[in-house]
């Protein structure tokens, strides 16, 4: 085979592989695309034997979703997500510091403990949590979710932030110490700016998990403190009838985290592997 012929076959194979990759990618994405398309349809266009791609888009379904009382649920989700993420950072940043830069004696044991709490199945603790929240009059109160989401994300945040802190070169910290910086000042002036991207990435991971959480929400909240997934449950009963409206609600529910995840894709792996994979 001549070298040009070889190059041509390679290019053709490469092109085919690229086309195949695109097809697979689009196939995986299709359910999401279909959800978004259906959300812009009238109900009659949503029920067709042959999938319709040509239709007059409408915003009616989104209007219906908001009219059906979506706002309070959206507000609850936003509050539980933002507040728990903030709390996680307030607790996890100092903790990660005490496990990396100025470590306590039993660093490994503490790390082991944090991660093991993540592995406890939540179903095993739902009964006592229900009884306790009931006794504290926190049932159907958004703060119950804030506390639980904080506990849920804390181990991930500690591990992730620690992996970022270990990357801060030791010389920088020593230089700051030589200059007579106090610990707090060193933290604020030297560490925090260096860690800002890591903290942002950690926050995004926490947002993703808190926003999508369903088990605690469905068991501990109802009409008053219900979050977006709890709102979606209402569609199971009326399923079959309002696909377009259902798709609009699902689109609105999924949108914030999909966008957050797209922005944070580079850090996603690190968060999902608890900082084990860079």
């Amino acid at each position: 085979m001549t070298s040009t012929a070889y190059a041509t076959t390679r290019r053709v194979r490469g092109g085919l592989l690229t086309a195949f990759t695109w097809i697979v990618g689009l196939a995986f994405f299709f359910p999401v695309l279909w959800m978004v398309l259906t959300a812009f349809k009238q109900e009659r266009d949503a029920y067709t034997d042959t999938p319709t791609f040509a239709f007059t888009p409408t915003l009616d379904q989104f209007r219906n979703v908001f009219d059906a009382g979506f706002w309070p649920y959206l507000g609850n989700s936003a509050f539980a997500t933002a507040m728990s993420t903030l709390l996680v950072l307030v607790l996890a940043v100092p903790a990660a510091y005490a496990l990396s830069i100025r470590p306590v004696e039993k660093t490994q044991d503490v790390l082991f403990f944090f991660i093991s709490t993540k592995m406890l199945p939540v179903v095993a603790v739902i009964m006592p949590l229900y009884v306790v929240t009931q006794n504290l009059a926190l049932l159907d109160n958004i703060w119950a979710l804030v506390i639980l989401y904080t506990a849920m994300n804390l181990p991930i945040a500690v591990w992730m932030l620690r992996s970022f802190m270990l990357e801060v070169p030791g010389e920088v910290l020593e230089a700051a110490q030589m200059d007579g910086c106090s610990t707090l000042r060193m933290f604020r002036a030297v560490l925090l700016p260096m860690l800002a991207p890591g903290i942002a990435a950690t926050a995004l991971i926490c947002v993703i998990f808190a926003w999508n959480e369903f088990f605690f929400a469905v068991n501990l909240t109802a009409a008053r403190a219900g979050t977006v997934p709890v709102f979606l449950v209402g569609f199971i009963t009326s399923e079959g009838l309002y696909w377009a409206q259902l798709s609009a609600a699902a689109t609105l529910a999924a949108l914030p985290v999909v966008i957050a995840g797209w922005i944070a894709q580079k850090q996603l792996v690190r968060g999902l592997s608890m900082g084990a994979i860079k």
């Binding site: 592989l17 689009l26 279909w34 660093t107 991660i115 739902i126 369903f214 079959g240």
Partner: protein, 308 residues
């Protein structure tokens, strides 16, 4: 830095050393105490409840019964089938998602037009709220009359198959695989990209075929990433609740009831605190086995470096 600290410990009196140790611990304490109170205390309560007979709708019914709940749980055939469904769903989801994930990662591990766009498309299923994803699969995808699946499979004789009622577990696993494949793909892709190009070139120079290179060079390198993905994935998928709740409600009958859903039913529809707690404890024991393996993998094969 470590040397300096060690020297200080020796030269200074014990009291100072103790104060030093506490000043190191102080930043850790709030997080540690919070985690213990919110996650460990409820578990201790679960252990206690599991030894009680207690029905929430009958106030004052609470009394100590020892291990009677555990005996009941193991005698309960629904519990055993739920345990089997949990293993089936977790096992098949993790294995299929990992195989697909490896395939997708290999496709993405080359330069081509629009690579980052395709990557973005592929990670999206993992980001979509699981409740929304499950709802979509149940309706627009699996619906017997207007669903996409039957439209696509129509030419192959799918007809008007009602997937969710006829094959509840397979339907749930499909939706779960869709959600978890991106997770596996991302982990494997990170593994592929950490592989030294010189090793691959050396294998090529030695005349290894593409397949040979993959099996003998790439796969061993990927091993720890695959292990990590399988174990972390398993820990999450064992807890699957959203998909069962939204797609099948454990049905038809109990055909797709897994342990989290069954415990939920016993707790919130049966109000049987004692039995739900006992089942929870059994699930925890099962999870500890997987979790120990997972932790060992994370600690052994990944550089959880000793702090400075």
């Amino acid at each position: 830095m470590a040397v300096i600290t060690a020297a200080r410990h020796v030269s200074r009196p014990k009291k100072v050393a103790r104060r030093e140790a506490w000043s190191r611990r102080a930043p850790l304490m709030p997080a540690l105490v919070f985690a213990i109170v919110v996650t460990q205390l409820p578990f201790v309560m679960t252990l206690w409840y599991s030894l009680q007979s207690w029905n929430l709708v009958r106030p004052g019914s609470e009394h100590f019964v020892g291990f009677a709940n555990y005996v009941d749980v193991f005698a309960d055939s629904t519990f055993r089938s739920a345990a089997w469904h949990t293993i089936l769903i977790t096992g098949s989801c993790v294995v299929i998602a990992m195989l697909l994930g490896i395939g997708l990662a290999l496709l993405l591990d080359r330069r081509f037009l629009g690579r980052s766009v395709v990557r973005t498309l592929l990670i999206t299923p993992f980001l979509v709220m699981p409740v929304a994803g499950a709802l979509l699969w149940k309706t627009t995808m699996f619906d017997p009359l207007f669903g996409i699946i039957n439209f696509v499979l129509g030419p192959f004789g799918a007809g008007e198959t009602d997937w969710v009622s006829s094959y509840p577990i397979a339907s749930v696993v499909t939706a779960l695989v869709w959600q978890w494949t991106p997770f596996m793909m991302l982990l494997v892709l990170a593994g592929l990209q950490s592989q030294g190009k010189d090793v691959l070139e050396a294998a090529q120079v030695d005349g290894a075929s593409a397949w040979g290179t993959f099996v003998w060079v790439t796969l061993p390198h990927l091993r720890r990433y695959i292990e990590l993905g399988v174990l972390l994935g398993a820990i999450y998928v064992v807890n699957t609740f959203d998909h069962i709740y939204m797609m099948t409600q454990g049905g038809p009958g109990t055909a797709s009831t897994n342990l989290p859903f069954y415990i939920y039913q016993r707790a919130f529809l049966g109000f049987d605190v004692g039995q739900a707690a006992a089942m929870g404890v059994v699930v925890v024991v099962g999870t500890i086995i997987i979790a120990t393996l997972a932790l060992r993998t994370i600690f052994k094969s990944f550089d959880v470096r000793e702090a400075r």
